[in-house]
């Protein structure tokens, strides 16, 4: 434990380089807090029933938003996320297409093959059948 404490003291000695960053953090938080407080105190307020309602693009809101939704929507959404992520891998590959050469091509081919297997799997399992 004493070993840890002495090292801790050393670490705090060298941390004074971070002092400007600390000042900046305090200033940033302080500035935002002050501005919000000032505008809340000085700004004009005229509260009416319509103004206090949730803004829904002018359409009157009905009931609670927490209603059960068919699980299919969730399934499609999660599959969309999965298959959308592949673009994240394709984009850097496209940029570095020439440099990566055949080895890179094979790697991407393998990636797409695994992807395709997943796609075949969800189709065969009927995950995309909207009507039961």
């Amino acid at each position: 434990m004493s070993n840890i404490l002495s090292v801790l003291l050393q670490a705090t000695n060298t941390a004074d380089n971070y002092f400007p960053i600390g000042i900046q953090l305090i200033f940033a938080a302080g500035f935002v807090a002050t501005m919000i407080a000032v505008s809340a105190l000085l700004g004009p307020k005229r509260k009416t029933k319509e103004k206090l309602e949730n803004f829904t693009s002018g359409i009157e809101s009905h009931g609670d938003a927490r209603q059960p939704v068919a699980i299919k929507y969730f399934l499609v959404a999660i599959l969309f996320v999965l298959f959308d992520v592949e673009v994240i891998f394709f984009y850097p590959y496209a940029v570095n297409f020439r440099e990566l050469g055949w080895e890179g091509f094979m790697a991407v081919l393998m990636f797409v093959a695994f992807f395709l297997i997943g796609f075949i799997y969800i189709i065969k399992k009927g995950a995309l059948n909207w009507e039961d």
Binding site: Q10, A11, T14, I117, Y121, K125
Partner: protein, 470 residues
């Protein structure tokens, strides 16, 4: 087999992932439960074959891993053990696995993916691979835990496991980040130059190791991070509990040993306080709470916590004795637990009363179950005895000042005899009509083989340990 740190990836990692994919697609083509089970067994044989081919230098796939994975005799031997245990587990409980729900093939695929994570944990050389291994191993388990969709308890267990598991993963990542801050490396091997360069931030290294220790303690359910274990093990379908409590848990210990055999030095004096503290807490929480259980399944969950306490002894001397010990413990504990859970899944009633009079109705089940339970309790002539012996001896070999801890552990082992023997008492000395589901002769034969293995290893542990050096 020579040590080749820089070379290659293990066949087991690639093949376990591939057979998972094949299994998944197989589920589309094959509709019958028997066919799915057969495919799973064939694929596991392929996995075992490919692994053994590499073990004996016949065939392996070379991929440059830049030192992120390291092949070692220890890891390879451990892989042989867990793949064989999984094969045994599927042979024994395959029927129950496909019966859990409507996605038989997927359950097997998830088990194979989880196995892939376990094989990464036995060969990681870099904390990023540790993280990946832990995640690949546990994420399929969240699904398997909640696979009994109509059962509220199973769903609750799955959600609980998921939330607690992701929280502990956060701690693991924090620990890895601090470790990186302290050493400038993700590699688990100490590099002198890096250490000197980062002298100013050395406090981060023990702190990071502490975080990793906490997270891994969670994964192997060591107290005080064990609270998820009874609920999850109890809520999950019994067949999957069996997998979680054996193969997954022991893989967690391998990850533990690999990191802390190199790095426990860096934690300094605090390691000497932390390890005995965790061991005693784990033994206390596991054994004492198990005494008060009414359900055998829940008792086994607590007993798995108690066994985690014993396996933690391997960290005292992880260089030779502890490593042999953890191998022996893995085999002894896993065989016995897979056996008891296989019997448990056949029971209609999971309470102690449900076992009343089993000896009269199903003598073979009762007899083999007795051997499994004796092994779990660590009675001599069973594998469990030498497993515990090696664990305690490894602590004594490190330093005789650990004698008090060994005595405490032996006392707790004596406590464990009480709740284990209640099962034997129910089976043999209580009147009742224990009801089971249909039992096939093949199942009985396998139980007898497992019981025989336990006794053979209990008589001659050197048989197994010689294989380690062969």
């Amino acid at each position: 087999m020579p040590e080749r740190a820089e070379l290659g990836v293990m066949n087991a990692i690639i093949f376990s992932a591939l057979i998972g994919v094949v299994m998944m697609l197989g589920g589309i083509v094959i509709k019958s439960n028997a066919g799915i089970k057969l495919l799973a067994i064939i694929l596991l044989f392929i996995l075992l074959g490919s692994h053994l081919a590499e073990y004996y230098d016949l065939f392996n796939i070379h991929i440059q891993t830049h030192g992120m994975l390291a092949k070692s005799r220890f890891g390879m031997f451990f892989n042989t053990i867990i793949i064989s245990l999984t094969l045994l587990y599927v042979l024994l409980s395959g029927d129950e696995i496909v019966k859990v729900g409507t996605y038989g093939a997927e359950y097997f695929a998830l088990i194979f993916f989880s196995l892939c994570g376990a094989t990464i944990l036995s060969s990681y050389n870099n904390l990023l691979m540790l993280f990946l291994g832990v995640e690949i191993m546990t994420i399929p388990l969240f699904v398997l835990t909640s696979s009994e969709k109509k059962n509220l308890k199973s769903n609750e267990a799955g959600l609980k496991y998921f939330l607690m598991g992701s929280f502990s993963t956060g701690i693991l990542l924090m620990g890895i980040a601090l470790y990186y801050g302290g050493t400038g490396l993700f590699a688990i091997e100490a590099s002198k130059a890096a250490n000197e360069a980062q002298q100013a931030f050395r406090i981060l290294l023990p702190l990071g190791l502490l975080f990793i220790f906490i997270s891994l303690s969670f994964k192997v359910s060591a107290a005080p991070f064990h609270f998820w274990t009874p609920d999850v093990y109890d809520g999950a379908p019994s067949v999957f509990t069996s997998f979680m409590a054996t193969i997954v848990k022991t893989a967690g210990f391998i990850a533990f040993i690999k990191l802390f055999e190199l790095r426990s030095v860096d934690m300094g004096y605090s390691w000497k306080i932390l390890l005995p503290l965790i061991i005693i807490l784990t033994l206390l929480a596991g054994n004492i709470t198990a005494v008060f259980q009414q359900s055998v399944k829940r008792m086994l969950a607590y007993s798995s916590i108690a066994h985690a306490g014993f396996m933690l002894f391997a960290l005292y001397n992880p260089n030779d004795f502890g490593k042999q010990g953890i191998m022996l413990y893995t085999v002894a504990y896993s065989l016995a637990t897979i056996g008891t859970f296989a019997v448990l899944t056949k029971m209609k009633d999971y309470t102690y009363e449900g076992y009343n009079g089993l000896a009269k109705t199903k003598p073979v089940l009762a007899a083999t179950n007795t051997i499994f339970i004796l092994s779990l309790a660590g009675i001599p002539l069973t594998a469990g005895f030498f497993a515990k012996y090696y664990m305690l001896a490894s602590a004594l070999k490190e330093s005789t000042s650990n004698l008090w801890l060994v005595i405490v552990a032996v006392l707790f082992a004596a406590v464990s005899v009480y709740y284990y023997f209640r099962v034997i008492q129910a089976m043999y000395f209580k009147d009742g009509n224990a009801e089971t589901t249909e039992i096939k002769p093949f199942f009985k034969t396998l139980l007898i083989i497992i019981a025989a293995l336990i006794i053979v290893i209990g008589l001659m542990p050197s048989l197994l340990l010689d294989l380690f050096y062969a």
